[in-house]
Amino acid sequence: MTVGTTYETPRAGERKGEVRTVNVGGMRVPYHLTLLERPDPYLDIDSYDPEADLMALNMGPQHPSTHGVLRVKLYLDGETCIKAVPYLGYLHRGVEKLCEKLTYVQITPIVDKNDYVSPMMNELAINMAFEALLKVEVPPRALFIRTVCAEIQRVASHLLWLGTFGLDVGGGIGGGATLFMHTFREREMCLDLFENLTGCRFHYNTHQVGGNRHDIPEGWDQKVKRALGHIASRVDEYEAFVENPIFKARTIGVGVIDPILAMELGVCGPILRASGIDFDLRRDAPYAAYDKVEINVPVETAGDAYARYLVRVREMRESIRIALTLLDGVPEGPISALKPVKGPTNVKPKPGEAYVSIESPRGELGTYVISDGSPNPYRCKLRPPSLHAAALLPYLAPGSMVSDIVATLGSLDFILGEVDR
């Protein structure tokens, strides 16, 4: 069943023209990106700089642009970075250890706090892994609701990204703040929709093993249509606001990513798509209700921060279209395959393991669970896209200026809650 497309399609790419590609293992990779030098992240700073002329600058863990508590130790020559060493773990909460201690039912609200910008995605990923362990078939209505929620969440997440990226390149006391305030106004609409659906604005706990906890309330679809239509028109405004010479000067050619390196590091999502790799798990390995809808994957070939901005903005439009399309086709029926859980130890999968990955706003969000037959997982590994995106930093920072590092950090869009878990 494919629901017809009736809403606006994403804008065509701005930067037209043939891009020369080369064949790497069967994939077409933009040629100019394969020419990039790959800096040595293990550079021995003591032998590089025996007289200690470089300035070691600790950016973070309290710094306005590290988006949380990332600490990056930069070795600067003037303002040019020679080596960058990220230090993680300032937000490490031991979620994987907690997963071993909690039952399957109790885990969902815990993982909400991982990627605190798109909690829906965390819930979806972990519950899909549990369902794969249990071999439960989720009813179509629940799948549709999940997919619509995921797409609204993607819009909200990209909106937040756009605002904070504005703060990074434009300053908290300046144009960036204006952009931030505006994107937050629209993000608020998305949160209102979720509040309407689940009763919570942020940590929803709406997915459960086998289906959803909350059914669509009366009139929710109308609210979604109104809000998303509103946001779609506002996205045009952001484009008009952001696409000025200064923004382009600050983002074009900044933080150019080699797609092969990105793949080796496990980076995907908008970052990989901005580097010319046409890969989206929603289309290439459909889950939930994504096989019911046509998905256009925006791809850019420049690989820089501006390309990532373009990809994310177009993805926002595409997500709005997908959500609206799916919303029209939500089938009737139950929203959960399992009966409501009475006790936390009700769910007991057979020994085995499962890996399920979904396309979160930041890339492949996976969950790897090993069950030993008890009510708690034996081992639960969350594969956060942000951790892999943050691993790009030692490769991107060398050779660029502090301002560019900030813009690059912003364009990678990693969430520290997810990096550290």
């Binding site: 993680l88 890969f279 290439d284 492949e364 594969r383």
Partner: protein, 158 residues
Amino acid sequence: MAFSEDIVRLCERFGLTELPDEGPVVERKDVVAFAHALKDELGFFFFVYCVATHYPADEKTEQPDRTLVTYRVRRLPIPGVRPTETFPFRLWVPTGDTTPSLTSVWAGADWQEREQFDLVGTVFEGHPDLRRLMMPEDWPGHPLRREYAIETQHFPWR
């Protein structure tokens, strides 16, 4: 879920005939060559994860204290040729022993292996920068080992 033909053929070359869904168990001495073959011949460029799971000594099955290290890699779709596919492979590492690092094959193995070293205590041999990733440098113990209960006597949990 069965694996593609070329993967099966590659596994046969390395003497892996059993291919369960969880992935074949690779010998530790072969793993770097196997990984290189996966990446260079079959196009598994995308590094998904590296997970170490601790299995304490079991009297019933008479297994020693050991760690299961699972890698999973992905190849991206080529339109009209093949869909995207992930391939896991695993190795058993007895506690106190080391396992070769795959950082030289996939750069992404770097942080993942550091994380597993940090949390589970698996030592990856040949890793260029094997430091703790999440926990403080002077943290006692490895939190994701089974004996590291939350009711542990280790310092912050006391």
